[in-house]
């Protein structure tokens, strides 16, 4: 039952996102494993990172509520000596949020050398944080506190490993931003740096929250 309304093609300049004036397509060069995929507006990268962070927050909220419920359940919660290096670790991560902002500013001012320098500093601080987490686990193991020792230590390991894993993802993102060949990318370096920094700041904030939870609830 074909309709009688006929089509005619009239090409006009138009936008995306339900009628706003942002030009169609992104900076896609059409290269991809499948032979090319369409361009997308750069703001989609900001959307997806914010959504991804919402999912991550739900994951950690589930762990947080488990922590609070489990702690309140019984009398088997044992306090252990909180590894002091976590304080230093937290400072390192906070410092990395500052350095990533400095790096972004240099990128937007097109000072590439300074950007690379500060971006590398941020990456190094991230790696230092992960190393610090590892040292904290070694210190706990030295006290005889392992994953299964007590619910408090179980949560300690889970709530330090999980953000560590997420931060490891962040470090990969930082390395991607600094090493990608941007001539052939769908996403611009500025957008990638902005998106990576949003993720980084949120991981930073998340860690501060988890650190406070672990410290106050230990």
């Amino acid at each position: 039952m074909p309709g009688t309304i006929t089509d005619e093609i009239e090409i006009i300049d138009a936008g995306r996102g339900g009628g706003n004036d942002i030009p169609a397509g992104g900076d896609d060069d059409g290269e991809g494993p499948g032979g090319g995929s369409p361009g997308i507006p750069q703001r989609a990268y900001f959307t997806v990172i914010q959504l991804g962070l919402a999912g991550i927050v739900m994951f950690f909220m589930a762990l947080t509520s488990s922590f609070l419920v489990r702690k309140g359940l019984g009398n088997d919660w044992v306090t252990f000596n909180f590894p002091r290096i976590l304080w230093l670790n937290t400072l390192i991560l906070l410092a990395s949020s500052i350095t990533i902002q400095i790096a972004r500013r240099h990128l937007h001012e097109d000072q590439r050398a300074a950007f690379r320098r500060w971006w590398s500093v941020t990456t190094s601080l991230g790696i230092l944080f992960l190393a610090g987490q590892f040292i904290a686990w070694r210190q706990l193991a030295g006290q005889g506190v392992f994953l299964v020792t007590n619910p408090s230590s179980s949560f300690f390991y889970v709530l330090t490993a999980a953000p560590g894993l997420h931060l490891f993802g962040g470090i990969l993102a930082l390395l991607y931003v600094s090493h990608r060949n941007w001539q052939r990318a769908r996403i611009s370096q500025g957008t990638a740096a902005d998106v990576a920094s949003i993720y980084w700041h949120c991981m930073d904030g998340l860690w501060v929250f988890l650190f406070a939870l672990l410290y106050l609830g230990r």
Binding site: P2, E8, R16, G17, G18, F59, S66, V158, A162
Partner: protein
């Protein structure tokens, strides 16, 4: 048609692997999801058939059972895998990831999903989770016996808790955790695509209700699967690392004290699981609501009655879905005040549900109804949604739930509302969009026979289960012959099993129709249903980049049927006001 040029370059892949296996094309990925669900649904049905046969003829020889006779543990393993495969691999996958992937980008005027590589990854991660889940059948001890809800302590203790609770349960937990990751990746793509890739003119108020339902479902998935992932992580640690998140102290299993665990809470798992689990019900059914609205409007030749109310109701159901998980736990010893709150919130869901039902009837009222197979499955969806929903009001009362909990009444309720209604949504979508997906029509005669067998079949299977439940018949019993008070109910089981056999056999009609029509069905026109949304403005099947580089501009809402003064009874979304003037 007024269009604008797209920004990208579009080269269809040439090799078989890139085109059909590791494809980045949302349409191929949608079909991959659909085929995965199709395979899974037949596996799930086969498992249910074995269970039904065992319930009626407990001493019957069964395939794949050592000794030829099914043990209670094997029955529970079938039950667990039936539920898990159906919920995760069928109900979550086909309506959202299958049809959503294929149709959503086209309906909003996009050339693909926002992140095609992420999209491909989502599918393959989901495929991996299916492989891991099914591999539980083949390890020592077999598949787990703890049900799709995997309640600790049964699911947390390991091999000592029973056959299947060793490696099988571990694989289940890992499989579900992997599924969560795939679902999260998919949700990111769906939301971003809908938010950022709509074509010019496709305002929120012009989005088809299918798109709204996929969007809201994706939001639910984004917020719910992270919680299940966290729960799976803790359960896995309890199982393999010896932690005590969910395992309490003082347990004795078959005379063996469990001394390595203390202080954990099985209820903690239930809270986490149902915080995911109840939204999961809506993840399964919301896309069906969208499809039903779409199909009812198209084949009534009328706009959807109360479009904005429908969007509001979808949103309200989605939001309330996160507030009612406690109604699965009324008998867990929760405070009566909490139970009252959960009960009240649960019954509140009846309001948006009633709005939707009323509006579906309003859409039909006075319409020039075309009884296509898709329309019949859409009407079947409404029927099942009402029937299954009404029993939910009974279960929402804590005092009644105390009696009905874990009886066949619950089995009947959730199968009708979550299982079968969603499946009817999938069938409606299949019969509606098959011509667009494959360029050929499904056979309508076979389709209608399929519908009547399925519609009558599911009612004959699940309506009697309500009475079994009211009679106090517990669920998950492998054999009722040794239970005196259940003996008079055996004939009901017999009736249900025969109905199940006929209904499942009838699904072979669908399978035949699907594959036969794909090859030899009548060629489909671009717009065989005289429908209005953008997917019907392009060839069937669509080209690689959907719009051949010319993205349409949208001028009107999605359901402009029977517009007064117009010569045709439909006006597609992309038709300019000037063209309407000329054509009408």
């Amino acid at each position: 048609m007024v269009t604008h040029e797209s920004g990208g370059h579009h080269h269809p892949p040439s090799g078989f692997i890139r085109k059909y296996i590791f494809s980045l094309d949302h349409k191929v990925i949608g079909i991959q999801y659909y085929v995965l669900a199709l395979f899974s649904v037949f596996v799930g049905m086969a498992l249910s058939l074995l269970m039904r046969i065992h319930l009626v003829w407990p001493s019957a020889k069964m395939p794949f059972t050592p000794g030829g006779q099914m043990t209670p543990e094997q029955y529970l393993a079938l039950l667990t895998m039936h539920g898990s495969i159906m919920v995760f691999m069928v109900l979550t996958t086909a309506p959202q990831s299958g049809f959503g992937n294929f149709i959503l980008p086209i309906q909003i005027g996009a050339e693909d999903m926002a992140f095609p590589v992420l999209n491909m990854l989502s599918f393959w991660v989901t495929f991996l989770s299916l492989v891991v889940l099914i591999s539980a059948f083949f390890v020592t001890g077999g598949a787990p016996i703890s049900g799709w809800t995997a309640y600790p302590t049964l699911s947390a203790l390991g091999q000592i808790a029973g056959p299947g609770q060793g490696a099988g349960q571990t694989l289940w937990v890992i499989g579900v955790a992997i599924f969560c990751i795939g679902a999260l990746l998919g949700a990111l793509n769906f939301i971003t695509t809908t938010v950022d890739l709509r074509t010019k003119g496709m305002t929120l108020g012009r989005m088809p209700l299918t798109v709204w339902s996929w969007l809201i479902t994706a939001i639910l998935g984004l917020l719910a699967f992270g919680v299940l992932l966290a729960a799976c992580l803790l359960l896995l640690l309890d199982r393999v690392a010896g932690t005590s998140f969910f395992i309490p102290g003082g347990l004795v299993v078959t005379d063996t004290p469990i001394v390595s665990h203390t202080g954990g809470s099985p209820l903690l798992w239930q809270h986490l699981f149902w915080f995911f689990g109840h939204p999961e019900v809506y993840i399964a059914i919301l896309p069906g609501m969208g499809v039903t609205s779409h199909v009812l409007s198209t084949f009534s030749r009328k706009p959807v009655f109360g479009y904005k109310a429908m969007v509001g109701a979808l949103s309200a159901i989605g939001f309330l879905g996160f507030c009612v998980w406690g109604h699965h736990m009324f008998i867990s010893g929760m405070s009566p005040y909490s139970a009252f709150a959960f009960s009240l919130l649960t019954m509140t869901i009846g309001v948006p549900s009633a709005i939707k039902t009323f509006n579906w009837l309003g859409t039909l009222w006075g319409g020039k109804i075309r009884f296509t197979t898709a329309m019949m499955f859409g009407l079947g969806f409404v029927s099942l949604f009402v029937t299954g929903g009404l029993s939910g009001l009974f279960l929402a009362q804590p005092s009644i739930d105390l009696y009905l909990h874990d009886t066949y009444f619950v089995v009947a309720h959730f199968h009708l509302i979550m299982g079968v209604a969603s499946i009817f949504g999938i069938f409606a979508a299949t019969y509606f969009w098959f011509p667009k997906m494959f360029g050929r029509m499904l056979n309508e005669t076979i389709g209608k026979i399929h519908f009547w067998f399925t519609f009558i079949g599911v009612y004959t299977i699940f309506m009697p289960m309500h009475f079994l439940g009211l009679a106090g018949h517990p669920r998950r019993y492998a054999d009722t012959t040794g239970v005196n008070f259940l003996a008079p109910l055996h004939s009901v089981h017999y009736f249900i099993t025969i109905a199940a056999m006929i209904t499942i056999t009838a699904q072979l009609l669908f399978l035949f129709n699907f594959f036969y029509s794909m090859k030899a069905g009548q060629k489909a026109a671009d717009n065989p249903w005289n429908a209005t949304t953008l997917e019907w403005s392009i060839p069937s099947p669509p080209p690689f980049d959907n719009f051949a580089g010319h993205i349409p501009v949208v001028y009107r809402g999605p359901y402009e049927f029977s517009v007064p003064g117009a010569t045709d009874d439909y006006i597609p979304q992309h038709v300019t006001p000037e063209r309407v003037g000329k054509a009408h």
